[in-house]
């Protein structure tokens, strides 16, 4: 077995607010191998971005990692001093954001923003850095990179800007690339371009990737394995084929059914998950999904299910329905959390 690149263990992240704190990510655990792509899906507000920002340690002044650890090649990022962490950001771990329109600083040129990072981490001279930036732009398929490098972001279309973001993210050869909804803001045809580019890049650089999306299509297209999140928790983890073929968690099942497939018959009703996602300050007791779950048991309303593998496979699920197929090898840990 290869060395694990990233290991996130029982991550819990919270934000301070006037009422005390709000736990945005309750329990996230996963591992990522070099070159592997993990997809995270889930509804808006379920904590996908917070998870990725926790890895980057970019939670802002009010957010903090409450529990758990994040090990990058064995180094725990959760407790790393800020100055060390800065050396990792943009260098070992890079990130692409959802909104290419607003993720670039409008008052600096593309080159300026790229060079800043290259100079910082690769210790090149400005001139070399610029050359390098141009070559990176070329790699992500930007036409006329020599000219574009001196342009301001507003001159570029959304797709182009996302390419710039990718070029920027890759410029320091990161070990891990985090892409938080990289195509949500883009059109279908442009989305296809970007996804294609990301695949190509991944093959070329063998970068481990964390791709976050609520579009199951994108996940199906890109991920090797998938985390399904609901209300701050990972509710299911499986490799991509297993997940799409045999979803276990009622939420995942509901999700799968409610997507209007192209091959879907027009005259049958769409299935949908009733109700809405509970808000952070009104989390139901027990299983967080129980209020919307068609299969909810009595136990679901009071006891919180653990995330456990089914039949010792790599397929993990957090649901009492599968209690008998799971055995709890992590009982100790669960106690702590409860």
């Amino acid at each position: 077995m290869k060395d694990v690149l990233l290991e996130v263990n029982q991550l819990q992240t919270a934000f301070k607010n006037d009422k005390g704190e709000a736990v945005a990510v309750e329990e996230v655990t996963f591992r990522l191998m070099p070159g592997e792509t993990i997809g995270i899906v889930g509804e808006s507000g379920c904590g996908k971005s917070v998870t990725s920002l926790s890895v980057m340690r970019l939670l802002g002044s009010s957010g903090y990692i409450k529990q758990g650890n994040i090990k990058l090649e064995g180094v725990d990022l959760a407790t790393l001093p800020e100055s060390q962490m800065r050396k990792i950001r943009g260098n070992d771990i890079s990130m692409i954001f959802q909104e290419p329109m607003t993720s670039l600083n409008p008052v600096f040129t593309i080159g300026n923003q790229m060079i800043e990072q290259i100079v910082l981490h690769m210790k090149l001279s400005k001139k070399e850095a610029k050359k390098y930036a141009v070559s990176m732009l070329q790699k992500v398929g930007i036409p006329r990179p020599e000219a574009i490098v001196d342009e301001y972001p507003h001159k570029l279309s959304g797709g182009m800007r996302q390419r710039v973001m990718i070029a920027m993210a890759l410029s320091c050869n990161p070990k891990l690339l985090i892409a938080d909804e990289p195509t949500t803001a883009l059109d279908v045809t442009i989305q296809a371009q970007i996804l294609e580019l990301m695949k190509k890049i991944k093959d070329e650089y063998n970068t481990a990737t964390m791709i976050i999306s609520h579009d199951l299509g994108v996940i199906a297209e890109m991920a090797d394995k998938v985390l399904v999140m609901y209300a701050g928790q990972v509710v299911e983890e499986a490799d991509v084929y297993t997940l799409f073929d045999h979803p276990k968690h009622p939420y995942t099942k509901g999700l799968m059914k409610s997507i209007p497939h192209l091959e879907h018959d027009q005259h049958t009703r769409l299935a949908s998950i009733p109700g809405t996602v509970p808000s952070l300050n009104q989390m139901p007791k027990g299983c967080r999904f129980h209020s919307r779950c068609p299969y909810a048991l009595k136990k679901c309303t009071s006891e919180r299910p653990p995330l456990l593998p089914i039949n010792d496979s790599s397929h993990q699920v957090r649901c009492w329905l599968y209690e008998d197929q799971q055995h709890d090898s992590n009982a100790g840990k669960r106690e702590v959390l409860a």
């Binding site: 009733p274 109700g275 209020s291 919307r292």
Partner: protein, 310 residues
């Protein structure tokens, strides 16, 4: 249209079953917007402090005749006397009880500050909203008028208006009110321009609402924040402005006291260095009321910010 009782199988069911718990919670806290604002506001510690202080000042102004220990005009034997038992804050340069004057002055200064700002905020808001909403020629004309007003010989206009109308508290308020609107108009225009593009305004038009209804009921309530900020600053400037008007004999007329003219009267090195009781109290009052208004404004703005309510 006969509204039939449509059965929304999936959803209706869900709301009975799934959302039941949500519903109860939510119905329990069915609150009016005002209450929500009030609650938010009361959480803002400084805002509450501001409210308390400002209310005290208002009370002081309203009940001045009952609170003031002496008449604010009667002249004692000691001029510019330091604080003593007889005169808690001392006497001014004409031998009047400073504490009493300070208390009475709050009536004048607050009326000037609040009155003038109220007037120009209304004017500026209406003009700015009209310019922003209707655009084109209306915008062009209003903005040019704003330019003209902004490049006006301020002092001269005040001089003329006041001398035509006579320098009285009311007229000062009116004049300051008539001249202060251009910045507000610009701010409101800017906000309206951006809010006008929002979908809920378009929805209003699509629903066939008339222009005044859209402007006053839908657009303006949503650009309160910048107006509020400007107004709190405006109150301070109006209070100070009144004082500087007395330089030209156009301020509040003697022997009436305002915080501004109490400060102006103390314009002397001797007073500054050795008679601090003449200037610290009015200065403090201005600062205190302006600060309390500002903190209240901050609190109110935060409380009314829909984002903060989410």
């Amino acid at each position: 249209m006969p509204i039939a009782n449509v059965k929304m199988e999936n959803e209706a069911a869900s709301y009975q079953k799934g959302a039941a718990f949500n519903l109860h919670e939510e119905l329990g806290q069915e609150e009016s917007y005002l209450k929500v604002i009030l609650k938010k506001f009361l959480k803002h510690k400084l805002a509450v402090a501001g409210l308390v202080i400002f209310s005290l000042i208002i009370l002081m102004a309203v009940f001045a005749p009952w609170i003031a220990p002496k008449s604010p005009y009667s002249i004692a034997d000691e001029f510019a006397a330091p604080p003593s038992k007889a005169h808690l804050l001392g006497t001014d340069q004409v031998g009047r009880d400073l504490l009493s004057r300070l208390i009475y002055a709050s009536r004048i200064s607050l009326s000037v500050g609040l009155g003038a700002v109220a007037i120009y905020t209304v004017i500026g808001t209406i003009l700015g909203a009209a310019a922003g909403y209707f655009g084109k020629a209306v915008d062009m004309i209003i903005m040019r008028i704003t330019d003209v007003f902004m490049s006006f010989p301020y002092l001269m206009v005040i001089l003329v208006l006041v001398s035509i109308m006579g320098p009285s508290l009311f007229n000062i308020i009116v004049v300051l009110g008539l001249l202060g609107w251009p910045p507000i108009a610009r701010i409101v225009r800017g906000s309206v321009l951006s809010i006008k593009e929002l979908d809920y305004i378009k929805a209003g038009v699509a629903l066939g609402y008339s222009a005044p209804k859209v402007i006053f009921q839908h657009i303006l309530p949503n650009c309160l924040a910048p107006i509020l900020v400007n107004a709190t600053f405006g109150i301070a400037s109006a209070i100070i402005m009144e004082a500087s008007l007395s330089f030209l004999g156009m301020g509040v007329q003697p022997p009436t006291a305002s915080w501004g003219n109490m400060l102006t009267e103390a314009q002397s090195l001797t007073v500054l260095a050795s008679q601090p009781w003449l200037w610290i109290p009015p200065g403090m009052m201005i600062l205190l009321s302006v600060l309390s208004i500002n903190f209240m404004g901050d609190g109110l703005r935060d409380a009314m910010d829909p984002k903060s309510l989410k």
